[in-house]
């Protein structure tokens, strides 16, 4: 018969022999959940993917070029010449100018779309989505067609209109570069500001207007300050985007005979590659990025801002009167710079026998696209690589991110926060810095990956791991852990719980996350350019490589294929996951 109450059992325990028996190793082993080995393995993979390149980057920056001894010489070389320092300064100028221009572009547009009765909002929004879809290096190619000295469309239009002998525009300049980079970064400003504006209720503005303030004053004194944290956060994001960018600066600055950090890094890699100096030279970029992201976190994490996102409240559009047409004109002007004009010239060049001959039927040809996709083995292979590497990288990133998110959420290991920090860390590492780290880590044994496709795949996977992680984390949060507990108590084990319950429930979310990683992986340039070899080109690299030859019809065709791939993936995402799917990646 069972003991009748607690004290009786307590008695048994005090005197009994069972309680004194120590826990033996054999019992521990029998009790051990064997899936723990899988978790440890995956944590190892994460450590290698994220930590190893960074550690090697630091290490290499302190190594003597020839002897491998510890030295600071690389830093002396990297910052010892005015030419090198000038590139640093140029990057800062670029970043700040881009931030200013993005604010001028993005904030009024966000306000117009969110708070006013401006017509054509759908069109503006579509054009902004379109801007997201055009890789900035393709934008740069388009702008060379538009505003290249003399031959550019805008210059020719100006000469035709005024009869002047030369056009005024020269895209190969700092101004030109700022314009291009800003045109492809302002959507961040737009999205950040708009989501902040969407949270402000009209009541707050009404409170100001009842006190006698006009629309302009209300907007400037009430609405704007409330959105300020979001705007500041966006400024940081676009600044960082601008200084870490490689494609557009390389296409514009190199012919324009000036340097920024990223193009300088590229030059350190010209044969023979000076990895050590490049590593040392990339440190400020890394430091600025990490520092500013930390600042950005602080800004958006602040109480006041969060409290404001609490509830939307009722909102009425501000009536602009005839100014609404002015506002629409401004929005169309900006999106023309970023989307409409570039797409027109890219399309024209992609289907032209010679782009300079203009828009006429007899200039039309499918030869370029066919050349890229079918005739030329190199470009054909690159198209295939783009898909295969992108998909493999997305699969790896997603599998790893999902498992790490799972480990963290279910508290399977004690140091979960550190893991999630690691998985998100590549977000603050500029692609180009990551690439140098990968180069430093995997060009010599034991892990000789350089020259194989794996170095590209792993670099892509690492670079976009945060996107996969943020999405996986959100998806797993939505699953009640008791669903898994129910599998386990019925004899299933963790892995079966994941296979039979977690995965089927996450199918759609994971499909969305896969596409969100796949898209940037197909267009990645700044890491790929450092890591590819002759057998492993992808389309973005090819596009950049061919820019020397001046064959813009082929460049435009390659770019167009990239755009079509992206659009197809986005459509697939919409179909699978729903309308909010593109916005998720700005969550990080």
């Amino acid at each position: 018969m069972a003991p009748r109450d607690a004290s009786a059992v307590t008695e048994v325990v005090r005197t009994g022999s069972l309680a004194a028996r120590p826990v033996g190793y054999r019992q521990r082993w029998r009790h051990l959940d064997k899936s723990v080995f899988l978790w440890l393995f995956l944590i190892g993979v994460l450590l290698v993917l994220v930590i190893n390149p960074l550690a090697r980057l630091f290490w290499v920056s302190l190594q003597h070029v020839d002897t491998g001894a510890l030295t600071l010489e690389n830093y002396v070389t990297a910052y010892g010449r005015w030419r090198y320092l000038e590139a640093l300064v140029n990057s800062l100028v670029l970043g700040l100018s881009v931030a200013v221009v993005c604010t001028l572009f993005g904030v009024p547009m966000a306000w117009a779309v969110s708070r006013t009765d401006m017509p054509g909002k759908g069109l503006v929004w579509a054009a902004i989505l379109g801007t997201f879809i055009v890789p900035s290096y393709l934008g740069a190619v388009a702008w060379i067609l538009l505003a290249g000295p003399n031959a550019g469309w805008l210059n020719r239009a100006y000469m035709w209109l005024t009869g002047a002998a030369a056009g005024p525009f020269n895209i190969y300049s700092m101004t030109g570069l700022v314009l291009i980079v800003a045109a492809y970064s302002f959507p961040y400003m737009f999205v950040f500001t708009r989501s902040a504006l969407d949270m402000i209720s009209s009541e707050m503005e009404d409170a100001a207007s009842t006190l006698g303030a006009g629309i302009l004053r209300t907007t400037l004194r009430v609405t704007l300050p409330l959105t300020l944290p979001a705007i500041l956060a966006a400024i940081i994001v676009v600044f960082l985007e601008a200084i870490a960018l490689f494609g557009a600066p390389a296409l514009i600055a190199l012919p324009g005979r000036f340097q920024v950090i990223t193009t300088m890094l590229w030059q350190f890699f010209e044969f023979p590659p000076k990895v050590q100096v490049a590593a040392a030279y990339s440190m400020p970029l890394l430091a600025i990025t990490v520092g500013l992201f930390w600042l950005q976190r602080r800004l958006t994490g602040r109480k006041g801002y969060v409290a404001m996102t609490g509830k939307g409240g009722e909102r009425r559009p501000v009536r602009l009167g005839k100014w609404r047409w002015v506002m629409l004109g401004y929005c169309l002007f900006v999106t023309s710079l970023s989307f409409f004009l570039p797409m027109v010239v890219v399309l024209q060049a992609a289907f032209a026998k010679a782009w300079g001959r203009g828009f006429s039927l007899d200039n039309l040809t499918l030869h370029n696209v066919r050349f890229v996709l079918v005739d030329q083995p190199l470009t054909k292979a690159a198209t295939l690589h783009t898909f295969v590497y992108g998909a493999t990288a997305a699969a790896i990133a997603l599998a790893l991110a999902l498992c790490i998110a799972y480990i963290v959420q279910r508290r399977l290991v004690p140091f979960g926060n550190a893991l999630s920090f690691l998985a998100m860390a590549p977000f603050v590492i500029p692609g180009i810095v990551l690439a140098i780290g990968f180069y430093a880590a995997y060009t010599q044994p034991p892990l000789l990956l350089y020259g194989t496709a794996w170095i590209l795949i792993l670099a892509f996977a690492t670079r976009f791991l945060p996107i996969a992680y943020a999405n996986s984390d959100a998806a797993i949060r939505g699953i009640n852990p008791e669903l898994e507990d129910a599998v386990r108590i019925l004899g299933g084990g963790r892995l079966m719980a994941i296979r039979r319950v977690v995965m089927p429930l996450l199918k759609r979310a994971l499909a969305g996350a896969f596409i969100l990683v796949f898209i940037p992986a197909t267009r990645e340039l700044s890491a790929a350019i450092f890591l590819y070899t002759t057998g492993t080109q992808v389309l973005s690299v090819l596009l950049f490589d061919k820019s020397d030859e001046g064959n813009f019809e082929i460049l435009a065709s390659i770019g167009l294929i990239l755009v079509v791939i992206t659009v197809a993936l986005v459509m697939l995402g919409f179909r699978l996951v729903g309308r909010d799917f593109m916005l998720r990646r700005t969550s990080a």
């Binding site: 009748r4 109450d5 607690a6 069972l18 009790h31 959940d33 108590i489 019925l490």
Partner: protein, 356 residues
């Protein structure tokens, strides 16, 4: 035979002590309820038994083998138990039949046998006609039956239920109580049933363990628990009661302005100094005249302070003469007294439970 033993089990979350020195032993085939208010550590205890949570101290044994201890615990999948969760945890990606069949598949039961067993158990819970539905297409009560079927079909060594009825409406809840007991009588599975509803515990269980702030207050059969609560918490938590504080002196227990002879109490030898008792409202009789003196009971004069008619019975509040006490008394519908009326309270001291 003892099936499951919890020895001095504790569990802390940071500085929160969720379960504190919990000891309990379940006989084979026994049905024990863990009863207590929200947040007292019931779910935590159950999850430790299931192996979903390690204890911070103490051990849990099944069939004499340690299955949980602070350093190492047998994973839940190797315990041969079943659990019904507070959320039911029916897998939304599987049909009713697939949900129920899952545990059998894991145990590598043949396909044909799985099918017959699933059909049988679905018959038992009256869900066979819904076997191909998905959980999203079921009502709460139906989901609960699926959870029950899924847990029972594998004939677990121990069945754990975590407030399985808390999401149902009152009628269904009452019906399902009996259903659960019926299933237990049919399958005799050793069961731990967590609830904060005393009626549910009373209907279903062989014994009830009352928990408060992570500790076991009392473990007893339902009747004993009601009739002889051992602590103030148990007396107050199980049904309604009156608390009487008194002091033992001169062979009497002196209360506020009245006294009862010590020899009349069931636990007389154990009483000394300051003492407290729980006296159920049903154990007091109200009379117009002083009852004839008898050996068994005491009579105390008083007057009615308040009354409420509840259909099935009267609720009176009576103040003993000159006393500050207010006693609640339950009387049958025809026993009508007016407010202010002088009455006699007839009390049987043997029904007064001595509490700590």
């Amino acid at each position: 035979m003892t099936k499951l033993t919890l020895r001095n089990v504790s569990r802390t979350f940071g500085s929160v002590v969720a379960v504190d020195d919990f000891s309990l032993a379940l006989a084979q085939g026994e049905f024990v309820a863990l009863l207590g208010p929200s947040g007292c550590g019931k779910t935590t205890t159950l999850r430790m038994i299931a192996g979903l949570l390690d204890p911070s101290a103490g051990t849990i044994e099944m069939d004499g083998e340690v299955i949980s201890s602070p350093g190492s615990s047998l994973p839940p999948e190797k315990r041969g138990m079943s659990m019904i969760f507070q959320s039911y945890a029916i897998w939304p990606n599987m049909t009713v039949a697939e949900n129920v069949a899952f545990g059998l598949q894991v145990r590598r039961v043949s396909r044909a046998e799985t099918r017959t067993k699933v059909e049988q158990i679905l018959d038992v819970v009256q869900m066979r006609h819904l076997r191909d539905r998905y959980p999203a297409e079921l009502s709460g009560g139906q989901q609960q039956r699926v959870a029950l079927a899924r847990a029972i079909v594998v004939q677990p060594a121990v069945l754990l239920l975590d407030e399985p009825l808390s999401n149902l409406d009152a009628n269904l809840r009452e019906e399902m109580r009996y259903e659960i007991r019926r299933l237990h009588d049919e399958f005799h599975i050793t069961t731990v049933y967590v609830t904060h509803d005393q009626a549910e515990a009373m209907v279903t269980s062989d014994r009830i363990a009352v928990m408060n702030q992570g500790r076991v207050e009392q473990v007893d059969e339902p009747r004993a628990l009601y009739a002889r609560p051992r602590t103030r918490f148990v007396a107050g938590f199980i049904g309604r009661t009156n608390f009487l504080d008194g002091e033992v002196r001169d062979g009497e227990v002196a209360f506020d302005r009245f006294a009862i002879g010590l020899e009349q109490f069931a636990e007389a030898p154990a009483l000394s100094g300051r003492v407290s008792f729980s006296l159920r409202p049903q154990s007091i009789r109200l009379l117009r005249q002083r009852p004839p003196a008898s050996s068994g009971s005491s009579a105390i004069p008083g007057h009615v302070v308040q009354r409420a008619y509840l259909g099935e019975h009267w609720d009176y509040v009576v103040r003993p003469a000159d006393s500050g006490l207010q006693l609640r008394v339950t009387a049958r519908p025809h026993e009508v007294f007016e407010v202010g009326e002088t009455v006699w309270l007839e009390v049987d001291p043997r029904q007064m439970a001595h509490i700590q």
